[in-house]
Amino acid sequence: MVELEKRVAAKGLTDVEIKPYMCFGACQEGPNIVLYPEKNWYAKVKVEDLDEITEHLAGGPHVQRLDTIDSSLKELIYQLLDTGVI
């Protein structure tokens, strides 16, 4: 998380907020990064992937290879985020 914060700061992305979440129900697929409200989920993220994720936050392309989470879990977690319960 510290590494991601550094990259986001270096890129000058002032409209990005990075927050820890206790659990999305996919710890076995972790570390997980959910971009919200865009609703993109990156799983099994490594430090080497952070530059591409930061690029995405800056308007770059979606990182397809990290988009591996089951769609029904995504839908549930996105709904919970939409409802404001997590």
């Binding site: 129900g25 409802t83 997590i86």
Partner: protein, 419 residues
């Protein structure tokens, strides 16, 4: 009312070996070692005994599966983890009738030809552990366990293991891990303990109350036992009543007895002369029943038909001036705290449900939050190594269905209707 386990009332003090022998104690074992183990299993199957730990699985079937599974040695585990809030039946049995429980354990071990039995007892039950150790010493001196039980070829070792006091430690496979020296985490099933249990060998895990029923059945026969209870739930069951009634305690009743009898005749009714708002027949994981279901018979089928379950018999009452949101919040927080955390789905589900109930209590989230409960529960159905993941479901869903006004009151005013 005559019982099977407590012939008259719950004894005031521990029953000693001689007292137990005077009323026929260890006679079942004396007869059994003259019979073949399969005959004992058949008596238990014919009696229709079902496990008293909560699931109600047929005991004879469990024993048969273990007995037929390949691999030796076999083990028998007496599960006295008893961490359901409000449950005290196992403690009372261990403290007052240790020889009844020990004879049942030895008979079970004989039936499945186990070489060793472990008595897994809640570590907080100091008195029970001491009582059982004393009784074990008496029983060993009398030749009821050890080498060549009562002069037969059957050898049995017995060891007491203290169970950690957290909720999942009472789950059967978590008990096996503790006995193996690991932390109390439930295992993925299958394989089930009957084929691969303790140290990977066929193992029976039976609740204390289940094993307490064995000696009377073996001594008096299946037909006698079936005179108690109903066709599908034979025998008696011990129910635990707590501070919400006038006379808290444990009560042994035949299956099929109306819930009203337990609450009114045994428990002396709800405290303070109030009206009952809801009944939870198997706290904390069963569905709430509305007060008009008070005449439901206490047996597995009737409770299922009424929309709830019998579990291990901790009956909890909610009074008319209580708010169901507060009740459900406590339950959701309990399961969130007790989830062991090894299954991500369970950790997410239980923590999210508790967080959502906290928001409902504070009047946040509006109607959309209520719609999320069912979705979370449905998503997590069938996941997780043990059943804890499913436990918050019945109380939450039944509360939403039966008492929507309590949820609406919280969400619209942010205040509890009970205050």
């Amino acid at each position: 009312m005559e019982g099977i386990l407590f012939p008259h009332a719950v004894p005031e003090a521990r029953e000693g070996l001689e007292e137990y022998r005077v009323r026929g104690g260890y006679q079942a074992l004396t007869n059994a070692v003259e019979s073949r183990p399969e005959e004992i299993i058949k008596i238990i199957s014919d009696a229709g005994l079902r496990g008293r730990g909560g699931a109600g699985f047929p005991t004879g079937k469990k024993w048969q599966l273990t007995s037929e599974a390949p691999g030796e040695p076999r083990y028998l585990v007496l599960n006295g983890g008893e961490d359901e809030p409000g449950s005290k039946k196992d403690r009372v049995l261990l403290e007052t009738l240790p020889h009844l429980v020990i004879e049942g354990t030895i008979l079970g071990a004989y039936a499945i030809r186990a070489a060793k039995a472990y008595l897994y007892i809640n570590a907080r039950y100091d008195t029970a552990i001491q009582t059982v150790n004393d009784a074990l010493a008496e029983a060993k001196s009398a030749g009821y366990w050890g080498d060549r039980v009562l002069g037969s070829a059957f050898n049995l070792d017995i060891e007491v293991v203290a169970a950690p006091h957290n909720y999942v430690a009472g789950e059967d496979t978590a008990a096996l891990d503790v006995i193996e020296g690991k932390k109390p985490w439930p295992r993925q099933k299958p394989p089930f303990p009957v084929t691969a249990g303790l140290f990977g060998k066929p193992t029976v895990v039976n609740n204390v109350e289940t094993l307490a029923n064995i000696a009377p059945i073996v001594l008096k026969g299946a037909e006698w036992y079936r005179k108690f209870g109903t066709a599908e739930s034979s025998g008696t069951m011990i129910f635990s009543l707590n501070d919400d009634v006038n006379r808290p305690g444990v009560y042994e009743l035949p299956f099929g007895t109306p819930l009203r009898y337990l609450i009114e005749e045994c428990g002396g009714g709800i405290k303070g002369g109030k009206k009952i708002k809801a009944i939870m027949p198997a706290a904390p994981s069963s569905a709430f029943l509305p007060a008009d279901k008070i005449d439901t018979p206490l047996d597995h089928n009737s409770m299922r038909e009424a929309g709830s379950a019998l579990g291990c018999g901790v009956v909890r009452l909610v009074a008319e001036d209580c708010c169901i949101v507060e009740e459900v919040l406590r339950i959701a927080e309990f399961f969130s705290e007790e989830s062991c955390g090894q299954c991500p789905a369970c950790r997410m589900e239980t923590s999210t449900l508790a967080m959502m109930m906290k928001k409902v209590q504070a009047g946040q989230g509006g109607q959309p939050i209520l719609e999320q409960f069912g979705k979370i529960l449905a998503f997590n159905k069938g996941k997780g190594f043990c059943n804890l993941i499913a436990m918050p479901g019945p109380p939450i869903e039944s509360a939403l269905k039966l008492f929507p006004e309590d949820f609406e009151a919280h969400l619209s005013t942010g205040k509890c209707p009970a205050n």
